[in-house]
């Protein structure tokens, strides 16, 4: 693939970045001068098996080296510890400059090339306990390129923060990819927006055409777009998930029908406000679902007709009960009360169990994009991304008092005094 071969560099780069920052920002107070910590909490919710009551997590060199019950005290104390949370559709604003305008089907470009690591939003997201996000180009193309997963803190370079490059191909169905486009008419000068597709039908047509072209190229061995054929081919083989933005019920149906029509192996429906309206179809199709933020009022503010989309609190529970993999997202919610932890709280309010809600903001999104070998749960050998809570996680009365990212203390539970 033509992408930067960052992966090879990733580990060493991360280590360098960490040691640089360790001395600068949060190295102070660590057990032995390095980023090695012993954390103790009344409850450790590992997202991998049962919770540990009264336990200790030991962190060395940015990794979790032991998780056990007992251990009287640690350098860092909390009521509860959970894994760092993961948001697949975070409120990272890439800006309209990152929308590819020359074509509606972008395959090879990585969102890495459009990310602004200097945005203030990264800090907000990190402080809200989200340590890993999937970054994607804005959903204004039918295919908008490859998404990547990266950490929300650390040195401000992609290579230092990278968790995994090319975790999914981003696509969208419905009206949004065509919005702004229109057929040329009258005496107006030709401009940029006179292009296809201009309708929902056109969006699907372009989606289909891309897959048809890839399949026929595979059969004939004669390709006119090797990048497309390579990437769509991977989605057909299950080597690359297709993350499709599908909000309304109609979009959810469209996405699933396309999945079944072409045999796309792994699909994640993101922003899937109304996936709950088609529970059997979603269950049968085997897609993963990433839900947008809940609203206490039940009315969803996203989309073109605000009141039209509706996400009941029980949606997460209903889909979970059918065995559908569920991830939650805070999207742009960066204020206290609208963050990812609060979304898990709302899902619990809708009847989801605590364990399932925890999974939906940690290990579940991690496994949807296959980064669960390094992040998503508290297990030996995984990255030391940990969130320390003052009370029961996800309750609005609890606060995130500490955050560790790759073993670095980015929010210090001991207060400002130390």
């Amino acid at each position: 693939m033509k992408e930067l071969s960052i992966r090879a560099l990733q580990r060493s780069a991360t280590t360098i970045a960490l040691s640089v920052l360790a001395t600068g920002v949060a190295g102070q107070g660590a057990d032995d001068g390095k980023d090695d910590w012993t954390l103790h909490a009344q409850h450790i919710y590992t997202a991998a098996g049962d919770a540990i009551e009264g336990g200790t997590v030991r962190v060395e060199n940015g990794k979790i080296v032991s998780v056990r019950s007992g251990g009287g005290s640690g350098a860092l104390e909390a009521f509860a510890i959970t894994p760092g949370m993961i948001d697949l559709t975070p409120g990272i604003d890439m800006g309209h400059v990152s929308v590819e305008q020359s074509t509606e089907a972008v395959f090879g470009q990585s969102a890495a090339l459009g990310l602004d690591l200097f945005s203030y939003r990264w800090d907000r997201i990190l402080k809200s306990g989200v340590t890993t996000v999937m970054a994607s180009a804005p959903d204004y193309n039918v295919f908008s390129g490859l998404s990547l997963c990266l950490k929300t803190g650390g040195e401000k370079t992609i290579s230092a923060r990278l968790v995994k490059q090319d975790v999914a191909l981003r696509a969208a169905v419905g009206t949004q990819p065509s919005s702004g486009n229109r057929p040329p008419r009258g005496s107006e000068p030709l401009n940029f927006y006179f292009r296809r597709p201009t309708t929902r039908m056109g969006v699907e047509w372009l989606f289909r055409k891309s897959y048809y072209d890839t399949i026929s190229a595979q059969q004939s061995g004669d390709s006119d777009n090797r990048v497309r054929d390579d990437i769509l081919g991977k989605t057909l083989l299950g080597q690359l998930p297709l993350a499709v933005k599908a909000m309304a019920t109609q979009d959810v149906r469209t996405a699933i029908f396309l999945k079944e029509e072409f045999g796309i192996q792994r699909m994640i429906l993101t922003h899937a406000v109304e996936a709950w309206r088609e529970p059997e179809l979603v269950q049968r199709s085997g897609v993963g679902v990433c839900l947008p933020p809940f609203r206490a009022s039940g009315r969803h503010p996203d989309g073109f007709a605000n009141d039209a989309y509706f996400l009941p609190l029980q949606a997460a529970k209903d889909l979970f009960d059918l065995g559908v993999p569920i991830a939650l997202s805070a999207q742009d919610g960066s204020e206290a009360g609208s963050r990812l932890g609060n979304q898990a709280g709302f899902a619990i309010r809708g009847g989801l169990s605590f364990e399932a809600a925890l999974a939906a903001v940690t290990i579940q999104p991690a496994s949807m994009v296959a980064i669960d070998e390094t992040v998503g749960s508290i297990e030996v050998g995984k990255d030391a991304d940990l969130v320390l809570w003052s009370g029961m996680p996800f309750e609005p009365t609890s606060q995130i008092i500490g955050v560790l990212l790759d073993g670095q203390l980015v929010v210090d539970p001991r207060g400002d005094s130390e």
Partner: protein, 505 residues
């Protein structure tokens, strides 16, 4: 965008009609109940006036609490129906200190409109009041006019009843004054209009007195000519009261002769109204305080504040006025040089400065008071203080302490029964009793099932086709309209987060 908003309103409207049926059902349960006795039992009573009571009983008679205490110590009237049980937590009900929800459009296009009354605008079948019961709010102060200079007379209501009269707790309650520049105005013209309003009052009264001195009985004749009521009490004159400026000789003017625009302002200066003074930024605060001081109503002033007004905390503390937080709990500011973000938890600042404060739900359904109090606890207020800021303190600020805010003998029999701790996500409001009348039962709340499970109750589904098609069409129309601005469609969701900057109420 416009057509879009219209559609939304259309949808809202039609839904209103469809849920009307459900509300009638709720209303029916209300009117079927008499104002007689009722006994509320709860495994725990959070009185907010001293210790919680385990296994407690509340006896309500004729709308007010007549007895409250542990089950063993309270004699239950044999003829009273009993609600609740050991599984529930009883709570006084939240008090919405200030909102412009539950009414039609706010902000009349007059600068000084004290003659308007919110009573004419409150919509008893509004979703908002339905949600209030669902979230456990039992008393609501409706005020509007952040987009005016002097808004209108507000009103305190209970979220139950099919008519405004049924909902009324305190009519003509308070006046709204806004220091936030009206749209299209500068801060200085806003202040100028505000000062002018009181200068105008003074000149008007002086003019009346002067004319009356020239020719006795003229004020009365003119008032009669204009169809005002100048009989009885209204025919009498009174010397000007209040602590600020005075107009000599006002006693010769029958009070009924003072016109609608000036009467409320005179009431204000003479000390008969509360003032909700809306400040949108810290620089509004000193101006508001100065105007209140000059015109003698500082004692009855409540500042309604946006989150960044914490910066004026010293001025507020010095003036000794209570405040209602109408903005977010946390003020997020970025340092323009370093880009570093600072978060200020606003109630904590008020707490440190000794300012009396209430927390409102920011006119936002997603931030109802239980959630605000829970978040405030999470952000560092003690649980008691967070609960007080949405119950007892707003009652004090609004002057309703004798009736609401805590569960004590003599107060209104307003009780919410929660299924658990009022501040937990897993807890729901199960029943609400307002002034002794059971007005809400979660088991009968069809729309709550809609919000929770997405079940559309029978007979309430809009007959229109799936909305999906609708916005497509809508969207295309939009395109035809604004040919020039097409790029906006692609950009619009990328703007900086745009929280409701405009204050409505």
């Amino acid at each position: 965008m416009n057509s879009n908003m219209k559609t939304q309103r259309g949808i809202q409207r039609s839904r209103n009609t469809f849920f009307f049926a459900a509300l009638i059902a709720l209303g029916a349960t209300l009117s079927a109940q008499t104002d007689g006795k009722i006994v509320v039992e709860a495994g725990r009573i959070i009185t907010l006036a001293g210790e919680d009571i385990e296994n407690g009983v509340i006896v309500i008679d004729n709308g007010r609490i007549t007895a409250i205490g542990p089950a063993g110590e309270i004699e239950k009237p044999w003829d009273a129906p009993v609600v609740g049980g050991p599984a529930f937590t009883a709570f006084p009900g939240f008090i919405e200190a200030h909102t412009s929800s539950g009414m039609d459009r706010p902000n009349e296009n007059f600068e000084v409109a004290p003659f308007l009354d919110i009573r004419d605008s409150i919509d008893p079948v509004s979703y908002y009041f339905e949600d209030c019961l669902r979230w456990g709010i039992t008393t609501i102060n409706v005020q509007q006019g952040a987009g005016c200079v002097i808004g209108a007379r507000g009103m305190v209501v209970r979220p139950v009843g099919m008519t405004v009269e049924e909902m009324m707790v305190r009519p003509k309650y308070g006046l709204k004054i806004s220091a936030i520049p009206k749209r299209g105005k500068s801060r200085s013209t806003q202040m100028q209009s505000l000062r002018y309003a009181f200068d105008d009052l003074r000149r008007y009264l002086e003019g009346l007195v002067e004319k009356e001195r020239d020719e006795r009985g003229q004020a009365r004749r003119e008032a009669l000519f204009q169809g005002r009521d100048v009989e009885g009490e209204k025919n009498k004159g009174r010397a000007m009261g209040g602590t600020a400026w005075k107009v000599d000789g006002l006693e010769i003017i029958p009070r009924g002769a003072i016109d609608e625009k000036h009467e409320p302002l005179l009431d204000l200066v003479e000390g008969r109204y509360m003032i909700f003074f809306h400040c949108g930024s810290p620089i509004d605060v000193p101006h508001a305080i100065e105007i209140a001081e000059t015109n003698g109503f500082l004692e009855r002033t409540v500042l309604v504040l946006d989150e960044d007004c914490w910066k004026a905390a010293d001025a507020i503390a010095k003036a000794g006025v209570p405040v209602i937080l109408d903005g977010g709990l946390v003020d997020q500011r970025r340092d323009p040089l370093t880009g570093e973000e600072r978060e200020t938890f606003v109630p904590e600042v008020f707490e440190e400065k000794g300012i009396t404060y209430a927390i409102s739900s920011e006119n936002w359904n997603d931030r109802s008071l239980w959630y605000q109090a829970a978040l405030a606890t999470g952000l560092g207020l003690s649980r008691d203080k967070a609960l007080a800021a949405v119950t007892r303190t707003p009652a004090e600020i609004l002057g309703l302490s004798d009736d609401v805010g805590t569960l004590e003998v003599g107060k209104f029999g307003n009780v919410c029964l929660f299924t658990g701790d009022p501040l937990s996500v897993t807890t729901w409001v199960d029943k609400v009793v307002i002034e002794g009348r059971p007005v809400y039962d979660r088991a009968d709340d069809v729309r709550n099932r809609h919000l929770l499970e997405g079940v559309t109750p029978q007979g309430t589904a809009p007959p229109v086709a799936d909305e999906g098609d609708e916005h497509d069409g809508d969207h295309e129309e939009e395109h035809q309209d604004e040919d020039e601005d097409h790029h906006e469609d692609k950009d619009e969701e990328h703007g900086e987060e745009h929280q409701d900057e405009e204050k409505e109420g």
